[in-house]
Amino acid sequence: MDVTPEITRDNIRNLVNNNQRADGRALDEYREINIETGVIPKAEGSALCKLGGTKVIVGIKPSVGEPFPDTPDVGVLMTNCELLPMADPSFEPGPPSLESIELARVVDRGIRESEMVNLNELCIEEGKHVWILFIDLHVIDNCGNLFDCASLAVNAALKSCKLPKASVVDDEIVYDEEETFDVPLNHNVALSTFVKIGDEMVLDPSLDEERVLSARLSVGITEEGSICSMQKGGDEPITKDDLFAAVKTALNKNDEILANLNFE
């Protein structure tokens, strides 16, 4: 377990009490975001997202398979996340940790419940063949706020993802590699994560700020301003006022974050 010296802890709290942060940001200010797509030659969709020093690579590999029996006419998303040992000395190889599972599930729900992807268009033949997108997150450098960085990386990779036209001929799948189409997206979604330090909800926490966290709150908002996912973490409570204030900040900042996805 990372132990942050008491002096750093106090220092961060005192700064926040005075509306300041160690890296000079405002309490509701994001670090620099930098997104690059198409970074993995063998992945149909891919992105590298840097949020300050935090770095996440996402690769998307499609394959054609059977739909789930209860949803025969829609495609399938499979989200998997690896907190690589290189990203943080506290990340260990082996079966996914609770942190890794929570990250994958929060990102996955953000895509799924917001209906970001139009899964109907990923159906090739109802009940028989649909596109399955394997979305693999590789966290390679953890300098704080993996949730928002991972969420942006996934959104960018989906936006860049091109699938071959597939059709069914004589009950076999035929691919037309020449003619590709974009993964159909209904909208983009940004996740805004806060930590509670003292009485303040602080946006986009750095690693040190995360380490002093008592409570964490992530708010997912679509580009239309709809609240589509939320996750509280940490072993301290938050108040209703904390919650509503954070939602307001997230709504205000949403367009600014999503602007980073305006690439071609």
Binding site: E113, E115, I227, C228, P237, T239, K240
Partner: protein
């Protein structure tokens, strides 16, 4: 249309928009456990039990300054329509983690350094909203075990269905619903210890859902207290 009758705003199962499903809580239902509780909410049947505070072989979770809590949420293979493979999966691991976070603020474990309180939540029958009902059951089991507590956390979800914000979605309502917002509070202060949201809600709907869920939690809290009273009076 299907679930809410237009004129009377009554749901398919006869409930008003702000009405809980039938709820029943019983404390002290197991012999071996240090504390236990049984909760029924609608078609959910949930057992929770507590052992501890005690030493643990899971040394790396222990802390020198306080006791810690460890939660295992599990669904029985026969609790759902299609048999579930036994053992933990990603969903249950996540729920175990957020349940521990939901209970932790209510516990006063400073007097038990290097010890662990083990909470086990077993979903025997599932019908929507098991994570909130699981926290509700675990909180009663902790009290039954005599663990020192500031408050007894209570859980309940609000949701959105046919563009209406309603309380405590049943399984069939959830499947056809537009959003689900599980919430756990500490009733004395109203502080939030668990919160998730899935779906699509406007700013106003979200605030409405939170207010409604808090009301629901307060009602659940009353049933919890009643169960503990009944249990103590039997001893």
């Amino acid at each position: 249309m299907i679930f809410i009758s237009e004129e009377r705003k009554i749901r398919a199962d006869g409930r008003a928009y702000n009405e809980l499903r039938p709820i029943k809580i019983e404390a002290g239902v197991l012999e071996r456990a240090d504390g236990s509780a049984y909760v029924e909410v609608g078609g959910n049947k949930i057992l929770a039990c507590v052992y501890g505070p005690k030493e643990s072989y899971m040394r790396r979770f222990l802390r020198p300054d306080t006791g810690v809590i460890k939660v295992r949420y599990n669904m029985a293979p026969f609790s759902v329509d299609t048999r579930k493979r036994p053992g933990p999966d990603r969903r249950s691991n996540e729920i175990s983690k957020i349940t521990a976070d939901a209970l932790c603020p209510a516990l006063m474990l400073e007097g038990f350094p290097r010890s662990m309180v083990e909470v086990s939540i077993e979903v025997i029958a599932a019908e929507g909203g098991t994570r909130c009902a699981g926290v509700t059951a675990a909180a009663v089991a902790l009290a039954d075990a005599g663990i020192p507590m500031k408050d007894i956390p209570a859980g309940c979800a609000a949701g959105k269905m046919d563009d209406e914000v309603v309380l405590d979605l049943s399984e069939i309502e959830d499947k056809n619903g537009q959003a689900d917002v599980p919430l756990v509070i500490m009733p004395r202060t109203g502080e939030i210890t668990l919160l998730q949201a899935d779906g699509n809600l406007t700013d106003e709907e979200f605030e409405e859902a939170i207010e409604l869920a808090i009301e629901g939690c307060m009602q659940v809290s009353e049933v919890q207290k009643e169960a503990l009273k009944t249990c103590y009076s039997q001893e």
